[in-house]
């Protein structure tokens, strides 16, 4: 459903150019759960941002079904994000002036076929926290609200950049379990960036980046449940 061919990303920094991605080829299958691993600075976030329509590649081609995202303008990318993509970030990025329910409603208000905010929050186990403001929630709860917000529109692709980066291991486990459940139940194509190789065990496929290139990828034969993971 999503196909990247020879994607490069170059950041001009004054005199020098930084090659964040150097010719990445990648195809995401519908419903699969992919984990992206790699050293800091290897280009993981850059790749994810490009896939999610937050950024455009310097060269190469990127297709979502038959939409050529590499040629899309800002308006088209906005449309793409609104209709098809869900994001989860390391730092939650909830809107502090809205309650949990309202944060989710922010997305369901503009989506074509959303679930009710209450349902999304129930899926992440936060039915009891509907009217709490972000400041009144723990980090793990905030991250789960962020996930509820990302999945409420029933996205085709869910992109998570270090979703457990700011959480302790048991809270992180809960969050990952939520992601895995949703991947199962809604058949949402999911990509998770992490520094934690253990997390790769819950993936269908593990992709390793180094210096802007995919250096290794393999399918996981013994997929484990997120709750079984320990780190």
């Amino acid at each position: 459903m999503l196909k990247a061919e020879a994607i490069s990303k170059i950041y001009p920094m004054g005199e020098v150019e930084i090659h964040a991605l150097r010719g990445v080829d990648l195809e995401l299958e519908s419903g699969e759960l992919v984990v992206l691993l790699g050293a800091s600075g290897s280009g993981k976030s850059t790749l994810l941002n490009i896939i999610g329509g937050l950024d455009t590649p310097s060269s190469g081609q990127l297709y979502y079904h038959d939409h050529a995202l590499h040629k899309a303008n800002d308006q088209q990318l906005t449309r793409y994000r609104r209709d098809h993509v869900g994001f989860v970030f390391q730092f939650y990025n909830l809107i502090p002036s809205l309650t949990a329910r309202e944060n989710v409603a922010m997305v369901t208000d503009i989506a074509a076929n959303p679930m009710r905010p209450e349902e999304a929050l129930e899926r992440v186990g936060l039915s009891q926290r509907l009217h709490h403001f972000p400041a009144q929630l723990s980090g793990g709860e905030q991250q789960r609200v962020a996930i509820a917000r990302a999945i409420a529109k029933r996205p085709d692709i869910l992109l998570c950049d270090e979703p457990t980066g700011a959480l302790d291991s048991s809270t992180g486990g809960i969050v990952l379990q939520v992601l895995q459940d949703i991947n199962h139940e809604l058949n949402t194509t999911t990509a998770i960036i992490t520094h934690n190789a253990v997390i790769g065990d819950m993936a269908d496929r593990i992709i390793r980046l180094s210096d802007g290139q995919i250096v290794d990828q393999h399918y996981n034969s013994s997929k484990r449940s997120a709750q079984e993971l320990h780190w």
């Binding site: 937050l54 800002d74 906005t78 309202e102 403001f133």
Partner: protein, 783 residues
């Protein structure tokens, strides 16, 4: 020392980053500074010019006008205690003719002693010299310029009905006529009114004043009791038709100039306070924001061993930079505008020299005042921040604490969209900032309303004066008191449609300790051409006073007023004040012709007439009037009005645009600053929304929705403030010359709103560009 250098680098970079915001603040500072410098230096230079002119050219301190007294009487005046110098002269009014100029010209004629220069009220010559023979004349410079008259040109004056050809031998100005305005005029009209100085013999012969005078000026010894001297003078001149000793305050030139200086003084305080206050507030929110984002930096600086003083100084650096910018920019602007102002003033005030220089002391005061404003705006924010112990400040900022409250419950209701909730919760979360921003915008809205109010009020004033109170086209003055016969001959002139007679008599009004010299105008209660403001009809009996005069004398309707008529005979009697009238221009007393005649024991007596004319036949009428010996002069009211209105339209436009720019910049700075801060605070939030698939327009709506609400709230408040300013103004500016009527129209409110909305729109448009460049990934990257 090196670490201070590092801080300096930090300051420099941050100032550069925040330049747009700081410039917006500096703009408001500079307006405050500009107004302060401009008004103060204008006031200083006018005062200086006035003092020099008065001193160097011996402007008299007391004046007495009388009917006629022998020259020897001035010796007696000199004997009076406290009198230093005495100068007697002959004064008269006359009509003047210039070849090729058909409109009526009125001139004030003053005699210059033969054989010597005058001791008092000396002339400053642009060219020429005092008249040496009865055929020579010195004319006032503005009159000469208005008609492009040169030395040795000739002019014709109608002296006591006789045409006299005079040769111009001097063009001059006098400390008595710095503001040269005709007795009945509201504005100087240099084409239709001038001052002529003639050789003594010329006037003596024409007016039958040989060995006599009808005007005397005095200079006093220092420390003289003026009031006591006035009483002595009044007693002395009683027999000679003295109108009462008057000091400088009763001279129109001095009075206008004093009024102007007073008003400049008020403006020099009021406006800068507004603008510097606004800049202090802008500083405050800017610093709060700046410091909020730098909590950790401050903590680290402290942990590294920077003293609180060093950190305080560092943050105060912003203030210093902005104030420096503002003061420099304001000073440059004010130099520029002060020059323009001098130009404007020299159109109205005829000084020997009028130069505006901005003095160092004024500059220093401006700098000090501005620094104080800046410091007041910033110190608290900085102080609160550096007081926090480093350990506490270094902890990561907790998420902004929104929590349940009644307002949030209200907002939770399903009517609100998420966007509306974000907007409203943010507004409520910063009540002080929101409130002050509303107030700041409201002040500029108020200024806008106030600015347009002033001009609206002046237009209304003119409208009332010319369309309601004085409906005549032409006013004719007779050379002497006549009867109804004169009206018949006027009615027979070409183009005259309607004639009404009136009589004007100089009077002294007394009530207890208050005295006031003016003229009563007597006309028929059935007059079609003269209306008293606020009165349906002139009462048959008793006297009507202008409200302002009634207040001044403490003689409201119903009281008995001591009136001294200074006519052929002096008659002093008590007359009942039956009503007051609310004219906006000038002060006066009015009674019916019948009452006047009865008081003066006379049958019908008229001193002038009011005409309605056919403007097509204007020139023929002028020619005919010029031929009539009993006509001393005439004024075309309608033309004066037209001229005044044209002038007002020009001035209104200029002044309105200046006020629009000033107040508009304030609104702009307020809105822009608020938007910048809102964007800085919510960059992450807005980026998140973009990531979630919201478009530029949608997030712009959320960001600017807040501003929109602030501006909407500010509009009515601004109207309220503007109305208050206007009320204040109509109280403060209430003099004998004019009272600004308190009249409001819908347009005023419209202008104010338009100005505020325009400035806000400009600020928002600048922000839209910024919002478009919002870097989604960077905004989300770190905490």
């Amino acid at each position: 020392m090196t670490h201070h250098l590092t801080l300096l680098h930090k300051l420099g970079r941050e100032v550069w980053q925040a330049r747009a915001q700081l410039i917006a603040i500096a703009l408001v500072v500079s307006i405050g500074v500009m107004v302060l410098l401009m008004m103060t230096s204008a006031k200083q230079s006018l005062t200086r010019a006035q003092q020099h002119f008065y001193q160097d050219y011996h402007y008299a301190e007391l004046f007495v006008e009388l009917t006629r007294a022998p020259r020897s009487l001035s010796e007696q005046v000199l004997e009076l205690p406290g009198v230093a110098i005495v100068e007697s002269r002959i004064r008269s009014a006359a009509r003047v003719e210039l070849p090729g100029y058909t409109d009526p010209i009125q001139a004030q004629l003053l005699s210059i002693p033969s054989q010597r220069d005058p001791l008092l009220n000396r002339l400053h010559f642009s060219s020429g010299y005092y008249p040496q023979t009865p055929q020579q004349v010195v004319i006032s410079k503005p009159f000469a310029e208005a008609h492009q008259l040169q030395l040795y040109d000739s002019v014709t004056a109608i002296l006591n009905g006789r045409r006299t050809e005079l040769e111009i031998v001097g063009i001059a100005i006098s400390p008595e006529f710095i503001y040269q305005i005709g007795p009945a005029d509201i504005m100087p009209d240099y084409q239709r009114y001038g001052v002529f100085w003639l050789h003594e013999e010329a006037l003596a012969a024409a007016l039958d004043m040989d060995g006599a005078f009808n005007s005397i000026s005095l200079q006093l010894q220092p420390g003289t009791d003026q009031e006591a001297l006035k009483i002595r003078l009044d007693a002395l001149f009683e027999r000679y038709g003295g109108r009462g000793a008057a000091d400088r305050d009763e001279q129109s030139s001095h009075r206008f100039l004093s009024e102007e200086l007073k008003q400049l003084g008020t403006n020099a305080i009021f406006l800068p306070v507004l603008f510097l206050g606004a800049s202090a507030f802008l500083f405050n929110i800017f610093m709060q924001r700046q410091i909020q984002t730098q909590r950790q930096t401050i903590a680290i600086l402290k942990a590294f061993g920077y003293s609180q003083k060093a950190i305080f100084g560092h943050y105060l650096g912003y203030t210093v930079v902005v104030i420096f910018l503002g003061v420099v920019f304001g000073a440059i602007l004010s130099r520029w505008l002060a020059a323009a102002m001098v130009e404007l003033y020299s159109l109205y005030f005829n000084f020997v020299t009028l130069t505006v220089s901005i003095q160092w002391t004024t500059m220093a005061i401006a700098l000090l005042v501005t620094l104080v404003a800046g410091f007041l705006g910033t110190w608290r924010a900085i102080y609160l921040a550096i007081r926090v112990p480093p350990a506490q400040a270094m902890r990561p900022a907790t998420p902004i604490n929104f929590h349940q409250s009644w307002i949030n419950h209200l907002l939770a209701s399903p009517w609100f969209t998420q966007g509306a909730r974000i907007i409203l919760r943010n507004l409520v979360r910063h009540p002080l900032r929101s409130g002050l921003t509303v107030f700041g915008i409201a002040i500029s809205g108020g200024l806008l309303l106030f600015g347009s109010y002033q001009f609206n009020a002046i237009t209304t004033m003119l409208e009332r004066n010319y369309r309601v109170e004085q409906q005549m086209d032409v006013i004719v003055q007779f050379t002497q008191i006549t009867d109804g016969q004169a009206l018949a001959s006027l009615a027979a002139l070409p183009g005259v449609n309607y004639v009404e007679g009136f009589r004007s008599v100089p009077v002294r009004l007394r009530q207890g300790p208050q005295t006031y010299s003016t003229a009563v105008t007597a006309f028929s209660p059935d007059s079609q051409l003269r209306q008293l403001a606020g009165l349906a009809r002139m009462p048959e009996q008793g006297i009507v006073l202008t409200e302002h005069l009634a207040n001044y004398l403490g003689s409201p309707a119903g009281t008995l007023l001591d009136v001294e008529f200074i006519a052929e005979r002096r008659i002093r009697t008590d007359v009942q004040v039956v009503a007051t009238s609310a004219e906006a221009i000038g002060v006066g007393a009015y009674l019916s012709l019948a009452t006047l005649n009865q008081q003066l024991y006379q049958s019908e007596s008229l001193s002038g007439a009011w005409l309605l004319i056919d403007s097509q036949a204007k020139d023929a009428l002028y020619t005919a009037l010029n031929e009539m010996p009993q006509v001393a002069g005439y004024t075309h009211v309608r033309e004066a009005e037209a001229k005044l209105r044209a002038y007002m339209d020009d001035t209104v436009l200029t002044a309105m645009s200046i006020i629009f720019v000033l107040a508009g910049s304030m609104t702009f700075a307020m809105v822009y600053n608020n938007a910048r801060i809102a964007l800085a605070e919510r960059e992450r939030e807005l980026a998140t929304l973009r990531v979630l698939g919201y478009s530029h327009t949608e997030i712009a709506r959320i960001l600017f929705g807040e501003l929109f609400i602030l501006v909407l709230l500010a509009l009515p408040l601004g109207w309220g403030l503007g109305v208050l300013f206007a009320l204040g103004m109509s109280h403060v500016i209430s003099s004998e010359l004019f009272r600004i009527p308190f009249v409001l129209s819908q347009q005023l409110f419209g202008w104010s709103a338009l100005g505020v909305l325009t400035a806000a729109t400009i600020a928002v448009m600048l922000m839209v560009r910024r919002l478009r460049r919002l870097d989604l990934i960077a905004a989300l990257k770190s905490e």
